[in-house]
Amino acid sequence: MKRSERPTVIVIGSGAGGAVTALELASAGVRTIVLEEGPRTSLADYGSAPSRSMRRLYRRRGMTPILGRVPIGYVEGCCVGGSTEINSGFWHRVPREILLRWSAQYDLADATEESLEPHFAWAEEKLGVGRSDRPWAANTRLFARGVEAMGWSYDEVPRTAPGCRHTNACASGCPTGAKQGMSRRLLPEAESAGATLISGARALMILRRGARATGVVARVVDERGTASIVRLEADAVFVCAGPTETPALLQRSGVRYHVGNTLRIHPYLKVAARFDEIVDAEKSVLPLLQVKEFAPELSFGGAFFTAGHLAMTLSDNWPANRGEMRAHRSMAQYYVGVRGSGRGSVRPSLMSSDHAHIRYDLSPIDLKNLSIGLARLATLLLAGGARAVHPSVHGLPAIRTEREAARWLDEQLPAPALSLVTVHAFSSCPIGERLDRCAADSYGRVRGFDNLHLNDASMLPDSPGVNPQASVMAFARRNVLRFLEG
C-alpha cells in the first residue's frame, strides 16, 4: 500500500482525551484518523427520555456494572464525544495536593500547577468554562441554605455550559447545545483541520511489530449495518478509549505491563431529600454547589433528577418509600462521593471482544468515608429544610433528624446493603516514571513502545478526587504537544 508522506496517527476514542489529541495533531498538519465506536449524533438526538438516551449514547446502554464485594453501577458514554456528551459539565482543575501526591508516588514529571496552567486555560477558553449566569434553582438554594446553616463554605462549580438553559438534560445530551461536549466544538475543529472521524468503528486490536505499533484492526459498521473488519496502518497510535476500554484494548493486543491492574473510581451514594417546598428539580439543572471543607476526600453535590431516577434511588426500600413518589415535585437528589482508595482491575472478556470485566473492591476507608459522608450530607440537608433524607441503602429507613444522621459518623454502613454508583473511573494505566507502578512514562508513551501512547482518564496516576474531565484534557494536551515536539 502506498503510504502518504505525512505521518498518520490513529486516535482511538473521541472523548475528552481523544478530542484534544485529534485537534492538536490535525492542527499541526498530522494526518489524523479518529476511530469512535459509538454513533455520530446531533442535537436532535439529545434531551430524550433517559431510557432512549441510554440506548443511543451510553456504553452497553448503561449496563456496565463494576463487580466486587459491593457491585457498583457505572456508566460511560459511547458516542462521538464520549462521556463529555452525557456528563454534568462540571469543571475542576486537579487540586495542588493531588498533583504533589502524584509527583511523590509516581515520579510524575512536569505536572505542577504552573506547568499545567496553560493547558487548563486553553481548555477553559475552548469550552467557555464559567459559572452560571442564571439565578440558582431551588435544589441549589436549598443546598446552599443547608451549607450555611452548618457553618461550612461552598463554591459554585464552574461548568462547560455557557448559556445553560437549565433543561435538566445533561445526562441525555444537552439539546440546546449549551454544554460543550466534545462533539460541539473540539471535534468539529479537528475535522476542519483535516482529521477524519470514523464513527461506528470499534478498535479490536493494535497491530504491533517489535517495539512499534503498526496499525489498528477495527470493526467498522457501515450505513447498511454491515460490519467489516478493516486494518488501518499508522505511524503512531494514541489510545483514548476511556478508563475501561483502553486497558482492555491494550491487553487484547498483548500489552500488559501495569495495564488494567490499578483502576480507581469515585464511589457515590445517592440520597433523595424531601422538602416542604416545591423544588421541581425535574425542570432545573442539577445543584451547582460544592462543599469545600472535606474535599478532595469527601464531596457532596447534586444528582440528575427525573421521576424515574428518583424511583431508582427510592427503590432500595420501595415498599416503604413508594408513597414518597407523590411528593416528587418537592424532592431533589444529592450524593456523597468519596475519593476511592480501593483498587480495581479491568480485564478484556475472554468470551467476547465487546466488553471488559471491571472489578473494584471498596476499601475500609471508602466505607468509612461513605458512612461519615452520609451523616454529614443528611445533616446538611436537614439543616436546609429537608423533612426526610432517603439514602439508597437497603433496610435503612429515611433519616428524619440530625440525631439519626449523626449515627453514621461513628457507625459503618452495611456494605452488602449499599447501592452505589459512579461515573468517574481512571488510573487503569497510570503514567509516571516509576517502572514498578506505571504503564506509561510521564507523557503517556506506553512502556516498551516508541509510538504507542495513552491519552485519556486511564492515564491519571490516581484518583483526582474531583470531576476528571479538566485533568484529562490538560494532561492530554500536554502529552500531545510533547509528542509533536519530539
Partner: protein, 483 residues
C-alpha cells in the same frame, strides 16, 4: 487444475461405487413392483412440505448467526441456503457450500472468511444434532458394524472440530493473540493479513458467545433436522411401512452423516446406499428399502434444485460483485464519507419473554397508580421490552448468573405455589416478587436490584404512569408553594 479434476473424478467414482453396492443383487421385478404400488398421495407432498419448512428454518438460523455482523432477512438467508443445496445437487464435492458462502458474502457484505466460518459452524451444528439423533436411534434399534464405524468416525472428527470451535467461541482474545504472535514469528510480512483473517473468522462466531443465543441456534438446528426427519417419516407409509419415528430418525441421521463428506452431485450413490442400509437394519426388505431411498432422494433433490434454480435465475449470483464487496471489507475505508458519516442505527429490541413481562408487571406500581385496561398492557409491554434489552446488555458472566437466579426463582415459585410465576394472580405475583426483591436474603435482593431499578426507570417515562403520578402529586399540598 489437474488436482481439482482428479478430486472430482475420485468423488464421482466413490459415489458410483456406493450406488453399485446399493443396487447389487436386487430383485429388479420386486423393485419395480414396489414403485408401482407406492402411495404417493398424501405422503410424498406432506413429506416435501416438511422438508421445505426445514429450509425456511435453516434460513432463520443463518440470519440469526450473522445478525451480529450483518443485516440479513430470513427470506434472503433462506435463498442463500437453498442455492447452496441446489448447487450441491448439481455439482460434485459439496461445491454448493462455496457457492453458498459466496452468495452470503454478496447478500450480507460479510467478508469471505466470515462467511466460510458461518458455513462451517452450520455444518458442525448439523453434525451435532445428527449425531444426537443417531445416538438416540441406535439405543432403540440395533445398528450394523458399518453404522457403528460411521458413528465413531463422525464422533472423532466432530470432537476435534468441537474443541476448535469451542476455543474460538469462548476465548477469541487468546486465540487472536496466539495467531498474532505466531504470525509475527513465522511470517512477519503476512502478519497483518493473517491477523485480519483470524479476526474475521472469530467474528463469524460472535453470535454463539451468548449462551442464550447459542441455545437458540441449537434449538433451531434441532427443529431443522426434525423437519427433515418428517420427510423420512412420511415416506415410510408410501411403501406400506409402519410410521416409526425411530426408524425415520435413524435413516435420516445415518444418511446425512454420510453425505456430509464430499461426493457426487446430489450425493447420488452414498445417499441411496446409507439410506437403504438403515432401513435394512430396521428389518425392511432390500428391494423396498431401495424403492424408499430412490423416492426419498427424488423428494430431496427435485424441489430444492428447482427452488434454487429459480432463485439463481431471478436474482443472479454475481461472483464479481461478491468479490468486489469482499475487497471493500479488506480495504482502508477511512476516507469514505459513507463510513465517516455512518448514522446511529437502533439495534432491534429483543422480544421480552412471558416471564420478563410478568416480572415487569410485578415490579411496577400499576395497581397503586390505578392503571388498567389497554394502558396497562401498553405500559407493561414497554417496560418489559426495555428491561429485556437492558438485561441483554449485561456482561456474559453476569447474564449467566442472572439466568441461573431467575431459574431458581421460577423453581421456588413452582414449589411454593405449585404454579409458574406467570400463572400467579397479579397481586400474589407482586407480593412474591417483593418478598424476593426487598426481603432479607441478600442474594434475592441482588438478583432483582437491576430488575426493579430498570423497570421503575422505564415505568415513570410512560405517559400513563406520568399522568397518574402528576395527578397524585397534585393532591398533595406542600407547606410552602415554592422556595
Amino acid at each position: 487444475m489437474l488436482g481439482r479434476r482428479a478430486f472430482w473424478i475420485a468423488a464421482t467414482l466413490v459415489g458410483l461405487a456406493f450406488l453399485a453396492a446399493a443396487v447389487s443383487r436386487l430383485d429388479l421385478e420386486a423393485v419395480l413392483a414396489g414403485f408401482r404400488h407406492a402411495r404417493i398421495w398424501p405422503w410424498v407432498p406432506l413429506g416435501i412440505l416438511g422438508y421445505l419448512l426445514g429450509h425456511r428454518i435453516r434460513g432463520r438460523r443463518l440470519a440469526r448467526l450473522v445478525s451480529r455482523e450483518a443485516t440479513l432477512t430470513t427470506g434472503s438467508a433462506t435463498h442463500v441456503v437453498v442455492v447452496g443445496y441446489a448447487v450441491n445437487n448439481l455439482l460434485p464435492a459439496r461445491l454448493g457450500e462455496l457457492a453458498r458462502a459466496w452468495m452470503l458474502v454478496e447478500r450480507s457484505g460479510l467478508s469471505v472468511v466470515q462467511s466460510l466460518t458461518v458455513t462451517l459452524v452450520e455444518r458442525l451444528l448439523d453434525a451435532f444434532v445428527l449425531l444426537a439423533f443417531f445416538g438416540v436411534a441406535t439405543l432403540m434399534m440395533p445398528a450394523s458394524t458399518l453404522q457403528i464405524v460411521e458413528l465413531r468416525v463422525a464422533l472423532g472428527l466432530l470432537g476435534i472440530a468441537t474443541v476448535a470451535l469451542g476455543v474460538g467461541v469462548l476465548a477469541p482474545g487468546p486465540v487472536l493473540g496466539l495467531v498474532s504472535r505466531a504470525a509475527n514469528r513465522w511470517a512477519p510480512r503476512a502478519h497483518d493479513a493473517i491477523t485480519r483473517r483470524a479476526f474475521a473468522a472469530l467474528s463469524g462466531l460472535a453470535y454463539l458467545r451468548r449462551p442464550r443465543q447459542a441455545l437458540e441456534i441449537l434449538g433451531l438446528s434441532v427443529l431443522v433436522w426434525s423437519c427433515e426427519a418428517s420427510l423420512y417419516l412420511l415416506m415410510l407409509p408410501a411403501f406400506g411401512l409402519a410410521l416409526k419415528p425411530v426408524v425415520a430418525a435413524f435413516a435420516m441421521a445415518s444418511t446425512n452423516l454420510a453425505i456430509l463428506l464430499p461426493s457426487t452431485p446430489g450425493f447420488i450413490g452414498p445417499f441411496h446406499f446409507f439410506c437403504m442400509r438403515a432401513l435394512v437394519t430396521a428389518g425392511t426388505p432390500r428391494e423396498v428399502a431401495f424403492d424408499y431411498a430412490v423416492l426419498l432422494h427424488a423428494a430431496f433433490y427435485v424441489p430444492i434444485t428447482v427452488w434454487g434454480g429459480a432463485v439463481l435465475a431471478s436474482q443472479g449470483l454475481s461472483i464479481g460483485r461478491a468479490l468486489a464487496l469482499s475487497r471493500v471489507a479488506r480495504a482502508l475505508p477511512a476516507a469514505s464519507s459513507a463510513v465517516t458519516a455512518a448514522p446511529w442505527r437502533a439495534e432491534p429490541e429483543p422480544k421480552p419473554s412471558r416471564f420478563m413481562i410478568a416480572l415487569a408487571e410485578a415490579a411496577i406500581p400499576l395497581d397503586a397508580d390505578g392503571i388498567s385496561g389497554e394502558s396497562r398492557t401498553a405500559v407493561v409491554a414497554e417496560v418489559a421490552t426495555f428491561l429485556a434489552g437492558q438485561l441483554e446488555m449485561l456482561p456474559t458472566r453476569l447474564r449467566f448468573a442472572f439466568d441461573a437466579g431467575f431459574t431458581a426463582f421460577r423453581f421456588a415459585t413452582r414449589v411454593r405455589f405449585l404454579r409458574g410465576f406467570c400463572e400467579l394472580p397479579g397481586p400474589r405475583r407482586s407480593a412474591w416478587f417483593e418478598q424476593w426483591a426487598y426481603g432479607n436474603a441478600a442474594l434475592g435482593r441482588s438478583l432483582f436490584r437491576a430488575v426493579r431499578s430498570t423497570a421503575l426507570l422505564a415505568y415513570y417515562e410512560q405517559p400513563a404512569a406520568r399522568a397518574a403520578l402528576d395527578a397524585s402529586s397534585a393532591s398533595m399540598r406542600p407547606a410552602h408553594e415554592t422556595i
